[in-house]
Amino acid sequence: MQIIKTVTLDYRQYLTEKEILEIEHEVSIMETRESAGIEALKIVQHHRGWISDESLNAIAQLLAISSAQLEGVATFYNLIYRQPVGRYVIHICDSISCHLLGYQQVLQAIKTHLGIDYGQTTADGLFTLLSNVCLGGCDKAPVMMIGQQHYEHLTSEKAVAILNGLIQSKDGNLPGDILDKTDVGATIVEVKND
């Protein structure tokens, strides 16, 4: 006979005060606690890199919804990671403009350089490789996003140089901390008028 153990969890012992405060702020601008679910997942992921089962259960308890319901939400949205990811998550755009401009070679160069395929993380825990739908940089294709930074006009050489730059700059910070220091305005869409 198999005995199913139930675990009683107290979200206050699991989530930090800062996480709880940030989630409660999101709750305060919505009509129901449930509706802050996606923002809550993003908040905890921002601090911890990904959403573990423990995180999921704690958030569900904080929002007074079932874990099963929140799991349905967490697994629906591709920017919520339900597995551990590397410090830098590479989202390479595989939509139509990047396809027409040959993103496949860039992708192959990244795969070869890091020795990983889609969905995998490098052994040193630095990089995870994922695809992404159109990143809205079609006039600068091929493009990719790492953290909050968008990189445009990619070539195989440029992509490898970007990865090497990140490898050299690793300094032990958590993903969120690194990203907050980065000026995300460094690369942007260019508008042309005549």
Partner: protein, 458 residues
Amino acid sequence: MTNSASQSSMTHPLTHLVNLSQPLSLTEYIREGGYQGAKKALQELTPAEVLAIISDSSLKGRGGAGFPTGMKWSCVPMFEADDVNAPEHKYLVCNADEMEPGTFKDRMLMEGVPHQLVESMIISAYTIGADKAYIFLRGEYHLSAKRLQQAIDEAYSENWLGKNIQGTNYHLELYVHTSAGRYICGEETALINALEGKRATPRAKPPFPQVSGLFGKPTVVNNVETLCNIPHIIKNGAQWFKQLSPESDAGTKIYAVCGRVKTPGLWELPMGVTIRELLYQHAGGMADGLKLKGLLPGGASTDFLLPEHLDTPMDFDSISKAGSRLGTGGLIVLDDQNCPVAMVLNLIRFFAQESCGWCTPCRDGTPWAVEILTRIENGQGKQNDLDELANLCDFMWLGKTHCALAPGAVEPLKSALRYFQDDFQQHIDKGCCPYTGSHSQSGLASNVAQACGGHAHG
């Protein structure tokens, strides 16, 4: 971006203040004539009067469907202040979930002139009597999120948001909600579910969101570019807006061009500019050595058009008559050295991946089409695969699915089967992709291309 002297608020209302390196602060935006539309609406006009002006302007939604904005707003129930039947809240939601492949115009508006969107939302929310508004922003647009939040904070500090805006008795709270991915969130009822913290599956209509939307309350969902037109129409009048375009569709449109052209980019032009002018005059024509083979006029979910359609004006009616849809106005150009089958495979794979899985035709039909297209592209296609694809187009068409995602996938597929029939046939007859393998999606492609002689057929 560099704004030339010939551009003004009268000719390029949406983009003349765009500054992508450093958007205008509230003070600067006001100095350039900003918030005059909001001031006029809130202090001089009743909601019904604003609605009449917007209806009269013939503004149509810029998110893809082209529905008249005034008509959309007119379906929102209006109540007197003391009406006991009035709902506790009404909502305005800005659809900033720009994820249609080949579309990047809203990003420019949000990064380049965020106060324009805030002002737009104040006027629009006032018109429908909404007291709460959300900007539903896709998660990948980090810079937009940062700049919109800055603009909203400034607007609160100067009483353009919050209680008793500018001394009137109108109140509005405005929030940015960042999403966590999935194209289907751009469908307005799926967006509402996502905003409620649920899986983004579209809802059945009716009831329409204007009657029962976010949290069951009256809600209007409008695209970023649609909303950004509002302050200018209020400021300059419906007649001014109509005369911006030589065609029956009023106003300007932000057109985009991407693919292998000389200078891909974004341009605000009078609604109804021809495809030829957009592609050759503004985007500089095809990149060196390439010929135009076909194009999608308005994002991934529109039908292909051919070089013979180059003189078609890019407005809703004309593009419809040519057999496609204006969609988002994002032109995706197919050159003669990219394989049309591989292009369609990329598009349908996108729709298969982004299907929410709610209804069977879409959940099963889109991956089925991917399977067949992969087979054909890899040179293992069978003759009856083309009939199978045509059948799938029928199974996934409007009326057979829960929302417009699968029909959107059908549009490029069905039109490609018709226009590029020879290319499909060659893949099957030769047992390989006749184009050079370098841009094919399949790892097999380069070998196959060698077997095929590696030469391109135009």
